[in-house]
């Protein structure tokens, strides 16, 4: 069973390599030819633009950019899946769009607002229409990879537990974290009797956030994507917390919201001030979870990219200044990375702890 699993992983890696190498390189070459004309204009037009450099990195994209050698782009092409009301479902590799420099099947990456950077369908009259976009973007792909890692790590660990009672290897590294989540997060926040039900979600969320925070610090694929610094991802995680809290809320929880005991009656009748505030609070809790994680991780990425931008900003003024600044940047970046590793753990912990506290509030019996 274990061997089969390894084999599967190996096959996936090989498959992955087959996709990158022909597509990436071929696409790079084509890109070069095509871009040759635009190279001059681009170089004249733009000095280095740190804003777009940073945001290109921090936001989602249709391909997984690895590096450039001059104008030779190496990136992993990802599938674009769009559903258009006009022409139905389409799917094709993002390499077909050549970084947005060409159209394919009537689709292109928009260069104008409001859908700048998104795949749009070109109508007959030349206007752009945004289709339903289910593309496997960089972030979606990174989510898949991290979830794959989670499956691989924890199913193999679970199998080890079945084999022997004595933990060894990587199991030893994960066990204290699992025990920490159980004994110092779930048990105190939810209570001895009920915590077990929520453990799978808390552990999954914790390790999902942690692995993505850490992968986000690794500059090369499968790391480097800004998954937990993306509102959609953190929003979905917070939505799960909201859903579980709402589904498991007992009568005391709802009473606390709609008829809070100990609150003067005139705050409830005739204007239900307290119920309104509490209802809003119901949604602000997960909302804050979403924003906190997103902002922390996105800020970390932006700062790291900002430091790197310094090199190019100074390099644009005098090339040697760029070289001179780079050691300073390196020191800053190393320093930031160390802090970011701490932040990775802290944010995963905070999200899990707050989720556990919300579950505890929803299931608390003592009033």
């Amino acid at each position: 069973m274990h061997k089969n699993f390894r084999k599967l992983c190996l096959t996936l890696i090989v498959l992955f390599a087959f996709i990158i190498i022909p597509n990436g390189f071929a696409f790079g070459n084509r890109d070069k030819e095509e871009k040759d004309s635009s190279v001059h204009t681009e170089h004249e037009k733009g000095k280095f633009d740190p804003g777009s450099f940073i945001f290109d990195h921090v936001t989602d994209s249709y391909e997984w950019h690895i590096f450039n050698i001059k104008d030779f782009h190496i990136s992993i092409p990802l599938p674009i899946i769009v559903y258009s009301k006009e022409s139905g479902l389409h799917s094709f590799w993002s390499s077909k769009l050549h970084h947005g420099y060409s159209d394919y099947k009537g689709f292109r990456i928009s260069h104008t607002e409001p859908d700048e950077g998104k795949v749009v369908e070109i109508m007959e009259d030349g206007t752009e229409l945004k289709p339903l976009d289910f593309s496997i973007t960089k972030n979606v792909f990174a989510v898949f990879i991290s979830l794959g890692f989670l499956l691989w790590i924890f199913i193999s660990i679970a199998r080890k537990y079945n084999k022997s009672k004595v933990p060894n290897g990587f199991q030893n590294a994960m066990e204290p974290i699992i025990l920490f989540i159980r004994d110092d997060v779930a048990k105190p926040a939810i209570g001895e009797e009920k915590y077990e039900k929520y453990m799978p979600f808390l552990l999954s969320v914790f390790f999902f956030i942690l692995i993505n925070n850490l992968l986000g610090l690794v500059p090369i694929p499968p790391g480097g994507a800004n998954v937990t610094g993306n509102l959609a991802v953190t929003g979905v995680l917070a939505l799960f917390t909201l859903a579980i809290t709402t589904i498991n809320g007992n009568k005391y929880y709802w009473k606390e919201i709609y008829d809070a005991p100990g609150v003067p009656w005139w705050l409830k009748i005739p204007i239900p001030l307290m119920p309104i505030i509490e209802t809003v609070g119901l949604f602000t809790k997960p909302f804050v979870l979403m924003i906190r994680l997103f902002a922390n991780i996105a800020a970390g990425h932006i700062i790291a990219m900002g430091f790197f931008s310094l090199i190019f900003i100074f390099g644009d003024i005098i090339p040697y200044l760029g070289y001179a600044v780079s050691p300073v940047t390196l020191v800053f970046t190393v320093f930031m990375s160390v802090i970011e590793i701490l932040v990775a753990f802290v944010q995963a912990y905070v999200f899990t702890l707050l989720s556990a506290i919300y579950f505890g509030m929803a299931t608390n019996e003592h009033h």
Partner: protein, 164 residues
Amino acid sequence: MELVTPGLGLIFWMVISFSVILFILKKFAWKPILKALKDREISIDTALKSADKAKEEMEKLKTDNEKIIKEAKNERDNLLKDARHVKDKIISEAKQKANLEAKIIIEDAKGKIESEKDAALDEIKNQVADFSIEIAEKILKKKLEKSNDQKDFIKELVDEIKIN
């Protein structure tokens, strides 16, 4: 702006993939891991508890043993004491009895000796009387051979009586 506009596709894939993985992890990873951890804790707990129990029992056995030994010692001491007592009693009783016996015997012997002595004295007295008579006879015989003497003696005797 793109940074704060969540992508629909990403939300869609995130919801689906995270739900699926949550389900799979719950079933194949978290349940077995948490169960194994709990089982291990319970087994360690019971092992420790039983060790404590065994220790307690040992302690109990030890105190019991000590108690038994102490009791046995006491018993032995008591027995010895009793034995000594009995021995002393027997000895003293024997002594008393012996003394009594001895006294009786001595008393008896004394009595016998006394009576023997009396008998012997009686015999001696009788014999002495016999001898004296014999001797007196002989003396008289010899003395009375001379008649003058006899007459003198008788006269003497009669004189003596007259005086009286």
